[in-house]
């Protein structure tokens, strides 16, 4: 019952967006009238949307790489680290970005990076860094859970006793064991990155606005156009989420 209600609230707006994106006219009626694919063509040919689409993909790729490279060692340290204090510190670092509102982080970025000393506000790489910080905890949590669940520390120690160097242990034991959770975490991070608005809205430059920021502008124009643009964003996010769900299923089976 509860889940049906939940799905209704989740699905009805999405269904309306879909209907709206193919509707020719939609003003002061419950549902749009007529059928057209014109809105999609318009979105596809709109230069600012094309640029935003590319920016979003670039940012998503950049975030994926950054998170991938930083999350694995961080998660390893968290899951296997010795001292209580260092573990607490690491845990704090990993959780703070979730606890602190993105807006706070964004304002911080605005203050720091609009100065003459650090004039980087508006650059794509700054956005990549910001979104990486915000999404990193999701990846770290996934990995920590898996490292603990699989008893990877013991496996790594066993490999060490058998003569494996740290690189060989990472490649032969750690990476294969974590492949599902790495993939699942990566998909989650990508889905979050694609939909990220708060930070991007304040930090991105005019020519490096990602899709959701440009999308906001669309709602000042024709409803059908806005719907079509949103559906495109939705498809991207759903693709990433489905990938995450599939990868997560792989994790629980392994």
């Amino acid at each position: 019952m509860a889940i049906a209600l939940y799905l209704t609230y989740l699905l009805i707006p999405i269904a309306l967006l879909l209907v709206g994106s193919f509707g020719a006219r939609w003003t002061n009626t419950l549902l749009p009238e007529g059928f057209t694919t014109e809105w999609y063509v318009q979105v596809a040919t709109d230069p600012s949307f094309r640029r935003a689409f590319t920016t979003s993909l670039t940012v998503a790729a950049g975030v994926a790489v950054t998170v991938l490279v930083t999350a694995t060692p961080l998660a390893w340290a968290l899951a296997t680290g010795g001292g209580t204090l260092s573990r607490f510190a690491l845990r704090l670092v990993a959780l703070l970005p979730i606890a602190v509102p993105e807006l706070v982080l964004a304002f911080g970025f605005v203050v720091v990076f609009s100065s003459d000393a650090l004039p980087f506000l508006g650059s794509t790489w700054l956005l990549v860094m910001g979104v990486s910080v915000v999404t990193l905890p999701y990846m770290v949590q996934t990995l920590v859970a898996d490292i603990r669940h699989l008893g990877l520390a013991a496996l790594e120690q066993a490999a060490e006793s058998l003569g494996a160097s740290s690189w060989r242990r990472f490649v032969d034991i750690v990476l294969p064991s974590l492949r599902h959770s790495l993939l699942a975490g990566l998909m989650t991070v990508t889905a979050l990155t694609i939909g990220e608005f708060q930070l991007a809205n304040l930090v991105s430059g005019f020519l490096s606005r990602p899709f959701p920021v440009v999308l906001l502008q669309a709602f000042y124009g024709a409803a059908g156009f806005a719907c079509a643009a949103t559906v495109i964003l939705l498809v991207l996010a759903v693709l990433a989420s489905t990938g995450a769900a599939l990868a997560a299923r792989g994790t629980s089976r392994a």
């Binding site: 699989l150 008893g151 013991a154 496996l155 120690q157 066993a158 490999a159 060490e160 006793s161 058998l162 003569g163 494996a164 160097s165 060989r168 032969d172 034991i173 294969p176 064991s177 392994a254």
Partner: protein
């Protein structure tokens, strides 16, 4: 090669660790280390493996000082309580892994791995993933993996603790056989004293990070060095005693005839009487009368507590099913231990 601990100390912050441990495991020898949880036995193994570095003293393998030598360079076979098999590799690939790290070509290493699996009785299961093997089978694979590269020594960290009693007994014999065949010096950490007594050449008893006694199983059981060892290994009746005269001691059980050589009349000692050495039924000397406080049937034997005085219980183990209210202790079954209370 031998494994040597020379005055080795490693303390964890507040409590635990090992202090001043000196112990040598000779090539081909199996030394079991027993002790309660937190006694330091696992720390000792981790020091040998190189997962910990001693704070003082020396750990040597084959005479070579291991200070600063990483675990991967020590060439030791380690078997863990949790098996620690690589879940994505088949049994054969697991066993072949250390050979792969040593640069042995695939065909040869897989052949050697399969041969090793055959020796631990798993020829049929070579292609299975660890998840498809029972606990006992997984530990067989782990043993094969630890021995396949002819390690300098073998370290067993509670290898049988996670297994059922029947499997445990079977694997005990396998470990002993494989260890003998390999000739590797073996340090076997366990909390199961029966396991230690049954397969070890020598048993080391640890308490609070110190070695209390290192001896062959018979000596350890029959002639424990002190009260703590007597209490830890097997069941024990321990009574404070005063030497009344040569050949006579005074205890809570009354005056008993016992071997007192080495003890002066008037001095104090602790009398050790193993429960299975107490004989049901009356006799001329060392006769004990009492009332049964508990009678536990354990299948092969009964464990009885005989109330001899208000605060005095005598534990008796016997195979006899007959009822009795009296028992006696043959004088040679009483061992006098020094009167130093080493238990904390």
């Amino acid at each position: 090669m031998s494994v040597t601990f020379d005055n080795v100390t490693y303390r964890y912050g507040s409590a635990g660790g090992v202090s001043d441990v000196t112990l040598t495991v000779a090539p081909g020898e199996l030394v079991a280390v027993i002790g309660a949880s937190g006694s330091g036995k696992t720390t000792l193994l981790r020091l040998a493996a190189g997962f910990l570095d001693s704070q003082s003293g020396r750990v040597a393998i084959g005479g070579r000082d291991m200070a600063g030598v990483a675990p991967k360079e020590r060439n030791l076979g380690v078997v863990f309580q949790s098996y620690a098999l690589f879940p994505l590799m088949s049994a054969a690939e697991n066993v072949a892994y250390p050979l792969r790290l040593r640069g042995i070509a695939r065909a040869e290493r897989m052949a050697r791995a399969r041969e090793m699996l055959g020796r631990v009785g798993l020829a049929e299961q070579a292609e299975r993933l660890p998840g498809r093997l029972s606990g006992g089978q997984q530990q067989r694979v782990a043993l094969a993996r630890a021995l396949v590269f002819r390690p300098a020594a073998l370290l067993l960290d509670e290898p049988l603790s996670a297994l059922d009693a029947a499997v445990r007994a079977e694997l005990r014999d396998l470990i002993r056989r494989m260890q003998r065949e390999s000739g590797a010096a073996t340090l076997h950490v366990t909390h199961d004293q029966e396991e230690a007594l049954s397969i070890a050449d020598r048993v080391a008893v640890m308490q609070n990070g110190r070695l209390l006694q290192v001896a062959d199983p018979h000596t350890l059981y029959d002639r424990p060095a002190n009260r703590a060892v007597a209490a830890f290994v097997g069941h024990a009746n321990l009574f404070p005693a005063t030497i009344a005269a040569p050949g006579l001691i005074r205890t809570a059980l009354g005056e008993l005839r016992a071997e007192t050589s080495g003890h002066q009349p008037g001095t104090r000692a602790v009398a050790l009487i193993r429960p299975e050495r107490v004989v049901p039924g009356a006799a001329e000397i060392n006769r004990i009368a009492g009332e049964k406080a508990a009678d536990r049937f354990l299948g092969s034997l009964r464990r009885i507590d005989l109330r001899v005085g208000p605060d005095t219980l005598l534990r008796i183990e016997t195979a006899s099913r007959a009822e009795f209210a009296e028992a006696h202790i043959p004088p040679e079954s009483i061992l006098l231990l020094p009167d130093e209370d080493t238990t904390p």
